[in-house]
Amino acid sequence: MLEVRGLESGYKRSTVLQGVDLDLAAGQVLGLLGRNGVGKTTLINTLMGLVTPSAGSVRLEGADLAGRRPDVIARAGVALVPQGRRVWAPLTVAEHLALAARRGRGRGPWDTARVIELLPRLGERDRHQAGQLSGGEQQMLAIARALLTNPRLVLMDEPSDGLAPAVVDSIGEVIAGMKQEGVTLVVVEQDLHLAFAVADEIAVMDKGRVVHRSPTLEFRRDSSIAHALLGVA
């Protein structure tokens, strides 16, 4: 469903992505790994339209999205769970859910009731301002906000960042729940444990390119790849 070819992108003075090729099938969960600074977040933000690509194409079920505005890309069916969560601090949980649900109503299976079933904690906190939530709750809110737009593709950027191990486990369960519902996902993760737990396949980025791709089981078996590309044993 997603087909990225020769994608180049970056910021004013530096090109970060140096020609990314990436394919994703519907319903697949891809774990995107790589050291700091190899371009994972830039790739996610370019796919969402927050960073404008200088070359290459991004096709979602045939429609070319490269260089389009974020709102156009979102309406085409892409949702973002961004690095740092970026919930709207002054808005309540209920306001987040209402704002997202209004965009996504009638476009797919996700509605507020179903999202709260997956993330019951949000139901208990619905009158709280997002800025007062714990990191884990904010992450769940960011996931709920993305799901309620009824996306075809969800981009998650380091969902475990800064969270306690027990909370990371519950985020993993939520991602597994999304996968069961058939959501297609790209998950950028530093936490290998989480990435291995949720991903069907692992892709590794280095120096602005995707340099390796293999099924998760295979990747775990061959520790030399992880060692060479990620610097871990």
């Binding site: 970026r86 808005l91 306001e95 704002l99 209004r102």
Partner: protein
């Protein structure tokens, strides 16, 4: 204490009247700046257009003229804000200063056009019939119109607060102030939100100009005086916050009125002294609605 209060009642009431007017003026400026990084320096010029519309429609002679001036000012503000929203769009990815220069240029043009049409004399506008007199308030004589101005200002403040804090449209505005990129990542076109907020903010500025005309009259240079007061309110209150704009406006209203009455020798210092004091204690303003993200 009671004696002090009685002696300064007129100044305090004047402070509320100025504060009400400043809120109507500043709330749009604050939200647009907080939300879209558009510093609309033409805001004061839109106010002055409203004041001159009050002159044109001889707002003081009949209620019809006053209401017509309000309606035309509202329409003008809405249109002007919409046009301005379109004009700032090509500069959206440029630094704030580029947009500020654009709106500054527009404000100069508008002020010059007004000066050509209306001349450079001070034009005074009486209050509409029935409100042009004065009433006794706790033993002091006070202009009726200013009391109404306080009431209208507080009513508008309540309406704006309810819309921004309690409706779904308001939630969208607050979300845009907090992180507009994430709003667009939800499939919402930021430009439409900016168009609406700039339109309504400019409408409020022009309406404030009509409402303020019986107090300030209409004259060249009023646009800059008013703009500076509104900017001080925005900085004190914090960007993008309705509550901040209200508190900031009421504080500056009292500083302008009571401060000038009690410490006339420090009059020109006291406004900016207050600004400096707030910035030292709370550099982001009293109620910053804008939250930085990494």
């Amino acid at each position: 204490m009671a004696g002090w209060f009685d002696a300064n009642l007129v100044s305090i009431l004047n402070g509320f009247a100025i504060g009400s007017l400043l809120f109507i003026l500043a709330v749009g400026l604050s939200i647009v700046f907080g939300m879209m990084d558009v510093l609309n320096l033409a805001h004061g010029a839109f106010f002055l257009v409203g004041s001159y519309l009050a002159v044109s429609f001889v707002a003081g002679v009949s209620w019809g003229g006053f209401l017509a001036a309000l309606a035309v000012a509202a329409l003008f503000g809405l249109l002007a804000g919409g046009v301005l929203s379109g004009m700032t769009e090509p500069l959206a990815r440029r630094p704030i200063l580029d947009q500020a220069l654009l709106t500054l240029g527009i404000s100069l043009i508008v002020a010059e056009v007004l000066s050509i049409i209306y001349g450079n004399n001070v034009r005074s506008v009486p209050g509409p019939p029935g409100l042009d007199g004065s009433v006794q308030v706790a033993g002091s004589t006070y202009p009726t119109y200013r009391l109404m101005l306080i009431a209208v200002g507080l009513l508008l403040a309540l309406v704006v607060w309810l819309v921004v804090e309690r409706t779904s449209i308001g939630a969208l505005v607050r979300a845009s102030v907090a992180d507009r990129e994430m709003v667009s990542a939800m499939g919402i076109d930021n430009r439409k939100v900016k168009f609406a907020v700039l339109g309504i903010g400019s409408m409020l500025a022009a309406v404030a100009g009509v409402l303020g005309a019986p107090v300030y009259g209409a004259r060249p240079g009023l646009d800059k005086t008013i703009l500076i007061l509104a900017l001080v309110v925005v900085v004190i209150g914090g960007l993008g916050s309705v509550r901040g704009a209200l508190i900031g406006a009421l504080v500056i209203g009292q500083v302008e009125s009571l401060g000038r009455a009690l410490l006339p020798e420090l009059a020109s210092f006291i406004l900016f002294g207050t600004l400096a004091l707030v910035l030292i204690i709370r550099p982001r303003g009293l109620f910053a609605g804008k939250v930085a993200h990494s």
